[in-house]
Symmetry: C2
Subunit: 438 residues, 2 copies
Amino acid sequence: MNVILLSGGSGQRLWPLSNDIRSKQFIKIFKKENGEYESMVQRVYRQIKAIDPNANVTIATSKTQVSAINNQLGTDVGISIEPCRRDTFPAIALASAYLVDVQGVDINDPVVVCPVDPYVDEEYFKALNKLFELAAEGKANLNLMGIDPTYPSEKYGYIIPEDKADVSKVVAFKEKPDVETAKDYISKGALWNGGIFAYKLSYLLDKAHELIDFTDYKDLFNKYETLTKISFDYAVVEKEDSINVMRFGGLWKDLGTWNTLTEAMEENVIGEALLNENCDDVHIINDMNLPVIAMGIKNAVIAVSPEGILVSDKEQSSYIKPFVEKIEQPIMFAEKSWGSYRVIDVEKDSMTIKVTLNPGHSMNYHSHERRDEVWTVVRGSGRTVVDGFERSVHVGDIIAMKAGEKHTVVNNSDTELQLIEIQMGTDITVEDKQKFDL
Amino acid sequence: MNVILLSGGSGQRLWPLSNDIRSKQFIKIFKKENGEYESMVQRVYRQIKAIDPNANVTIATSKTQVSAINNQLGTDVGISIEPCRRDTFPAIALASAYLVDVQGVDINDPVVVCPVDPYVDEEYFKALNKLFELAAEGKANLNLMGIDPTYPSEKYGYIIPEDKADVSKVVAFKEKPDVETAKDYISKGALWNGGIFAYKLSYLLDKAHELIDFTDYKDLFNKYETLTKISFDYAVVEKEDSINVMRFGGLWKDLGTWNTLTEAMEENVIGEALLNENCDDVHIINDMNLPVIAMGIKNAVIAVSPEGILVSDKEQSSYIKPFVEKIEQPIMFAEKSWGSYRVIDVEKDSMTIKVTLNPGHSMNYHSHERRDEVWTVVRGSGRTVVDGFERSVHVGDIIAMKAGEKHTVVNNSDTELQLIEIQMGTDITVEDKQKFDL
C-alpha cells in the first residue's frame, strides 16, 4: 500500500503544547501498551505498519517538521517537503510526483491520501487498504472514504451517495450544514468527508500537468513558491464526475481541538498533577517539571508547557486561536534534527537555554553577531569546535564564545550530551545566526 | 503606639505563591496608588506608619522570615526572632521581653498585638490606637478588639460581651460554632475574635514569669527550644477575669485562603494572562515569565509560580493543604538577606539557578562537598572570592568552583548583580553547605 499522510497546519489550536515549529501531531500524548507515550504521527505510522509491514508511507509536510519527523519515525519514512504552504492541491501533486520520480513507484499504482491527525484504530487502516484496492480496480477515478456520522455535526462537510451500499457513486458534496440540514442529510445516507481518498498516480499527475506547467518532481519543487494556492476539493473533486465513496463505520475522531483530543486520551493526567475528588471531567497535560494541583474544576483541560499555560472549559477550547495569536514570545521549546532545546530563563540582555544533543549528532557550525555565549556541559561528553580549535569536553567543562566566533558541538558518544547555554548580548533573536561549513 | 505583629504559619494554604520559606505575608499582591505592588506585611506596616509615624513596630516571627522582612521593610523595624515554633504564648512573651529588654520600652507601657495578615484599612489602625489607649487606662488587664460579624461564620471564635456598648466586659469566649449557633451568638451582640488585643507589658511579663522560669529576654531566647507549646488563649485569656472588648465595625478580611485573598485584590489579573469573555469571577496571579490563557472558567483562582500551578474553584481552595503536603520538591524560589534565587532547571545531576544580588550585599563565604559550581555574570558587576583569590567581575565573566573551594560574590556596585549558577554533582541539596568567615 502506498500512503501519503498530509501533515499540515499550525499548532495554535492545541497551544501551548504545539507552537509554530512543533505541531500537534508530534505531541506525545497517547499511551502505548508498554506504558510509553507516542504522538499522533507515531501512532498512525505504527498502525499502518501493523496492517501492512511493507506499506510505503510518505509524509507531505513543510520543512519545519522534517526534524521532528526524523526524530520520531526515523529516516525510513518518505518525506515530501513543501518549500512553502500552497494549500492541498499543490501539496498532493508534489507528493504524488515524489512517489513516482524520487521513490520510483509505478505511475499506474494507486495511492491513498489521508490526514495524519484523526484518532483511529486497526479497522480504519483495513478500510484504507480496501480503498487502495478500489483505486487499483479503477472503477472510479477518485475513491473516497466516507465516515458514518455519529451525530448531526456542523463541523464537517457531507458526502451524498447514490444509495446506502458499502460502495456507491457520489451524487453531491455539501459544505458544513446547520444541525437540521445535517439531520436531513444523514437520513438520506450522507457521510462525513474526512479528506480520505485514493487514486492512481497517473490520474492525479495528469490533473497536475493540466493545471501546472512542470516537467517532473524536481521542477515542481523548484517552482513551488510560484504556484497558486488551491485546494484539492476545488481543483479536482468538484470537477470530477467519476467518484465512488466507501462507507466506514469504525472509530474515527478528529483531534483538532483540546476538546476532541482529550476524548482520545487513555488517562486524565499526563505529567505531574494532583486532582481533588471534586474535580470532574478534567484533563491535565503537564509537560513541565512543575507540579499542578487542580481542585473543584469541571469539564476543563489544563495544558502546561514551556510555551505557556492553558486553563479552558472543554467546549470553549476550540476558540483559542485568536488568543494565542496575541501572545508574542520566542519559541520556548523545539525539536531539532540534532536533538532539542528549551529556553529556561529570559532576561532583558541574556537568555539561558538547555540544549540536548542526541548521540551521533552535532549542531550546525555557526556564529552570532550580537551575542556572546557560554556553554557548560552538564551531562555526557563530546567535542567542541570554536573558530577551528577542536577539543573534547566532559561534564563540568566550560566553553566561552565571543560574538563572531564560529562554534559547534559534536556528540560523538553513544549517550545524550546536555549543556546549559547562556546567551548574553542585545537584541537576542534566533535570526542572529550565520552558518558555515566545518 | 507599640505594636507587635504576629507573623507566623507556613504558607501552604496559599501555595504555590507561598512555601516553607516564603510565607503568604510576603507575596506582592496588593496594588498601590502608584501602580506598584506591595505585600501584606508592607501594606500593614505602611498603614500603621500612616496613622502613627512614631509607632514602634516589632514583628514576632521565625528566623526564616528575617531576610524577607528586611528586604521588604528595611532594617528599622523590630524583629523578635523565635528560634523555633512554640505557639503563641511563648512567642508573645518573647516579643514582650524584647520590647522591654532590647528596645528599652517602659515596662508600664502598653502594647497592641495583632496578626500581620488581615486585610484592613485606616479605620482599623485608628481602632488599634484606641485599644492601645484602653490598655494605658488600665481598666482591664486585657483589652480585645472584637470584629462585628458580617455573616454567621463557622470559621471564627466568638467573644460574648456583657452588653452592646462600644467597650464592655467580656462574659465568655466561644469556639467556632455551627451556623445556627453563630446566628444565636450574633443576636446577643457577639463579636468575632480576630486575635487582636492590648495589655501593659508588665502584665504579660508577670504572666510569663509565672509560667516560665527565665530572667530576661536573652535568657528566654536561649531556652526557647525547651519551652512547652501553649497558646495565648489557653495560657492567659481563659484564666483572666478582667477582660474588656472594643467593638470594631470597619473593614476586616481574613486573608488565609485564596478565596478570601482574591476578594481583597484590586484587579483580577496580576502578571501575564489573557481571559476570554466567558470567564467569570476568575483571579489569576502569575509570577512566572510564561503566558496564561483562561477560557470559559468560572469562580476560580489560577496561581502560577516557580513552585507550581494551582487551578482551583474558589470555595475548594481552602482545602489545599493536604495536597501541598504530598508534593516533594526543592524550594524553587527564595528571598534572602542578600537578594533572591530562583531554580530555573533541575536535572538528575545538575541544577541551574538564577541568583540576584542586591547592591551592597554579598553571599556568605561558603563551600560545598558534593558539587562543582559555575557562575556566569549576566547583569551588573561585583567582586568574587574563590579560596582567597579575589577578582572583579562583569557581564560575561565566568567563575568556576570545584567542590570544597570556598567562594562568595560581593555586589559592591549600586545596581543589581545577576548570575546564572550551574551546580553539578550527585545528591545536590541546600544542606550541602559549609560557611566560613571571609
